[in-house]
């Protein structure tokens, strides 16, 4: 059976797989940024990403299911906001509308709305590319990436054309694999793209923050107080293993993985930092270097973030550390994944 690397997402209680070959990056727009980053061009939603506008397709619309959102306790709720751009931030509700609440009831109603907004208004977008277009696919939630088998769509699923096939996940759930090319087609993206292109060509100049670059990063910790980040594009996938899964083979630590062996290491073997707390839960970031894989054990939470700013490359710059940055008020070291894996392999040779 052939396995395909795929990103698992969920929507309305169901899980869907996006083939890795179609995936560019995962973007989470926090509630406070939605107003600024997501807009309507005409009646079409777009997301602003690094001075570029990408059309947005709501997977719920493509599937014809109720829009929903996932609350912090993982409950799926129906989303009454009709359009993505309507998911306004608290900031916007407080400052954008200076008129005092008409009466107490209105005020309470607004607070209710704010509360819901604050817990769930972030928009999760998988940036994907089809043969012809790059677009953002709005989903409820991102899950892990997985190696999955893809079964043919079959006579009931094939006619809709939006499914590449079906699959079984690690969790043993059955799931649907999306056909990213045909989703674009189903949403009539050719029309949307043209409208977006026409409408924004003169608008882009209005925002010029060219001094700052934007990066898609994966942030994680080594010890409680040691924060790190790597470029999201360098990450093959994330995996979680039990501590009993790790084995010693010669001088290496390995874990059995999909019929093969994945060498794992921790940051203290490469960078001057504390040893990992082995009692705490650990996750493994899998990097690919050439044809080989290597797993880096880290301490959760692992987060994907869109970071905008200038990387300080003078204070810390000994490979594999590329530089430093401020992430959520903490100094984080940015690692160069390729250099990291090279150092490990050089040591083995």
């Amino acid at each position: 059976m052939e396995y395909h690397s795929s990103q698992i997402v969920s929507l309305g209680g169901g899980k869907y797989a996006i083939p890795r070959k179609n995936l560019k990056e995962l973007v989470r727009i926090p509630g406070a940024d939605v107003k600024q980053k997501i807009d309507n061009v005409g009646s079409l939603p777009v997301v602003r990403l690094r001075q570029e506008f990408l059309p947005l397709i709501d997977l719920a619309d493509v599937l014809g299911i109720e829009k929903s959102y996932v609350t912090s306790d993982d409950q799926v709720k129906e989303d009454k906001r009709k359009q993505i751009a309507d998911r306004r931030s608290i900031q916007h509700l407080n400052t954008g509308n200076n008129a005092p609440p008409k009466d107490k009831e209105d005020f309470i109603a607004r607070q209710e709305q704010d509360r819901r907004t604050s817990s769930s208004s972030a928009v999760n977008i998988a940036i994907v590319y089809s043969d012809a277009y790059e677009y953002g696919l709005v989903v409820d939630k991102f899950h892990d990436s997985e190696e999955i088998p893809i079964f043919p769509a079959g006579r009931y699923l094939a006619p809709s054309k939006i499914y590449l096939g079906t699959t079984t996940l690690k969790s043993e759930e059955a799931a649907l694999v999306m056909d990213i090319d045909n989703v674009a087609f189903a949403a009539d993206l050719s029309r949307i793209s043209e409208t977006v292109r026409d409408a924004v060509s003169h608008d882009v100049t209005s925002e010029t923050q060219t001094d700052f670059e934007s990066f898609s990063l994966l942030s994680f910790r080594n010890a409680d107080t040691e924060h790190f980040a790597v470029a999201l594009e360098s990450v093959e996938r994330l995996e979680r293993f039990n501590s009993s899964d790790f084995e010693k083979a010669g001088t290496k630590e390995v874990v059995q993985y999909r019929g093969g062996v994945l060498p794992v290491f921790e940051l203290s073997q490469v960078v001057r930092c504390a040893e990992l707390n082995h009692a705490a839960p650990q996750e493994v970031i899998v990097f690919k270097h050439g044809d080989t894989f290597a797993g880096l054990k880290v301490q959760p939470p692992i987060d994907t973030i869109e970071w905008r700013g200038k990387i300080d490359e003078s204070t810390f710059n000994t490979p594999p550390v590329r530089g430093s940055m401020i992430l959520n008020d903490k100094t984080a070291l940015l690692l160069d994944a390729q250099a990291l894996v090279k150092i490990l392999q050089g040591r083995d040779a």
Binding site: L63, G64, I162, T168, E173, A174
Partner: protein, 62 residues
């Protein structure tokens, strides 16, 4: 005791109080499922898909 060769066994069940029989030779197995994955954009009579020991099986309803 041997059964006559023309005897057919049926799996019987009811849908909306109608008793229905299926030639038992057409039945592979009867299984209990809890999680059916919904399949949007399929005909109404398709309830969804299930993972039956690594194979995807379509579930239909009446």
């Amino acid at each position: 005791m041997t059964s006559p060769s023309n005897e057919i066994k049926f799996l019987t069940f009811t849908i909306n109080e109608t008793v229905i029989g299926l030639d038992i030779l057409d039945v592979q197995e009867v299984t209990k499922v809890s999680d059916i994955t919904a399949t949007p954009r399929t005909p109404d009579y398709v309830e969804g898909i299930i993972n039956l020991r690594g194979n995807i099986v379509t579930v239909v309803k009446y």
